[in-house]
Amino acid sequence: MRDNVHDESRYADDLGPDEELAQALGLLDPAQQDPNYWLSFRSWVLSNATAELARRRLMHELTVADVMSSWAGGVVSTAVLAAVLAGLLLVRGADDPPPPPVGVEELLVSEVEGETIPTLLAPETNGAVAFASEIF
C-alpha cells in the first residue's frame, strides 16, 4: 500500500519496521493481485462523490448579492404593498376634521366619576350652613 514502510529513517525512535512481517502482510494489499486496484478504488470514490462536490461548489459560489437578489422579488413587492396601504390610510385620514385641543387638567379628570360628599348634597341639608374640608 505505502512505499514508506521500508523507509527506516521514519522509525528513528520507533520499534522499527519488521521487514518479514511487512512483506507477509503485503499479501493482504489488494494491489498485489491487481496493480490498478487503488486507481480504481479512487475513481469509484470520486465518481460517487461528484454530486456532493458539485453541491459544495455551488454553495460556496453563492455570494451575498445572490442571496439578496433571490429575496428581492418577495421583499420589494411586500414593501411596495405596505407603502401603498400606508399612503391610502394617510389620504383618507386627511379628510376628517382634526380633534379639538384638550387641556391637561381635562384629560386628567375625563372619564373619572367625581364622588359627591353625601352629607353636603343630601336634600335635608339644603339651606343649612356647613363646613367641609378635604385633606389630601
Binding site: 500500500m1 505505502r2 512505499d3 514508506n4 514502510v5 521500508h6 523507509d7 521514519r10 522509525y11 520507533d14 520499534l15 519496521p17 519488521d18 518479514e20 512481517l21 511487512a22 512483506q23 507477509a24 502482510l25 503485503g26 499479501l27 493482504l28 494489499d29 489488494p30 487503488w38 478504488f41 479512487r42 469509484w44 470514490v45 470520486l46 460517487n48 462523490a49 461528484t50 456532493e52 462536490l53 458539485a54 453541491r55 459544495r56 461548489r57 455551488l58 454553495m59 460556496h60
Partner: protein, 194 residues
C-alpha cells in the same frame, strides 16, 4: 510521509478546499488515506470485500459530514473513526444476513497453479492469525507494518498514548509470529510469497 513538507499540502488545507467542493483536493485526501482506511476496515471486517465497501463508503460519508470535522488538521483520526464505525455496522449487518456464499474451505478445492495456491494459503493463514488478535492490535499492526505509519502517527491519529501503541504493536507482532509458526516463519513466509 512528511506532511509538513512545503510541497505536500497539509490535511487541514485539503479539507478546507474539499469543503468548497474542490475535487482535486478531495482526491488527494482519498489517495493519501485509501490504504489506511482499507487497513482499518480490514482489521474490523476481516475480509477484502467488506473492507473495500466500508473504506469506500467511509470516504463518501466523510465528504458529506466534512463540516462536522472540527479540527481539519486531524482529519485522519476523524476519518478512521468513521471507518471503524462503518466497518462495525457492516459486520453487524452481515452477521444478521444468511448468505449462500461459497465457504473458504470449498473455494480452496478449486484447482489452481501451485504458486497461486501457496500465496492464497498464506493469505488465509495471515487472515486467521490476524483474526486471533484483538481489534486494536490488528489495526495497529496493519497501519504500522502494512501501511507504514509510525507509532507516533498511529497514536496521534487514533487518539491513543504513544506507549500504548508501542505495546500493542509489540504484542501483535509477537502473536503473529507465533501464529504463523514462530520466528522462522518470516523467511518461510518470504520464500512462499516470492
Amino acid at each position: 510521509m512528511s506532511l509538513e513538507g512545503s510541497e505536500i499540502p497539509a490535511d487541514g488545507d485539503l479539507v478546507h478546499r474539499a469543503k468548497r467542493g474542490d475535487k482535486f483536493a478531495f482526491g488527494q485526501l482519498v489517495e493519501r488515506y485509501q490504504g489506511a482506511t482499507y487497513a482499518v476496515a480490514l482489521s474490523v471486517t476481516g475480509r477484502h470485500e467488506g473492507a473495500e465497501d466500508a473504506a469506500q463508503e467511509s470516504f463518501l460519508v466523510a465528504l458529506q459530514r466534512l463540516d462536522e470535522c472540527r479540527s481539519p488538521e486531524r482529519f485522519a483520526g476523524w476519518l478512521m473513526t468513521i471507518v471503524r464505525n462503518r466497518s462495525r455496522n457492516l459486520v453487524r449487518r452481515e452477521s444478521l444476513r444468511h448468505t449462500d456464499q461459497v465457504p473458504p474451505a470449498a473455494r480452496s478445492l478449486v484447482p489452481m497453479p501451485d504458486r497461486v495456491a501457496e500465496t492464497s494459503e498464506l493469505r488465509e493463514r495471515l487472515k486467521r492469525a490476524l483474526a486471533a488478535l484483538p481489534e486494536i492490535q490488528r489495526q495497529i499492526v496493519l497501519l504500522h507494518d502494512l501501511e507504514g505509519w509510525t507509532h507516533r502517527e498511529i497514536a496521534g491519529r487514533l487518539g491513543l498514548p504513544s506507549g500504548t501503541v508501542r505495546s500493542h504493536l509489540h504484542f501483535a507482532r509477537k502473536a503473529l509470529r507465533v501464529s504463523l509458526g514462530g520466528t522462522p516463519a518470516g523467511p518461510d513466509l518470504q520464500r512462499k510469497a516470492l
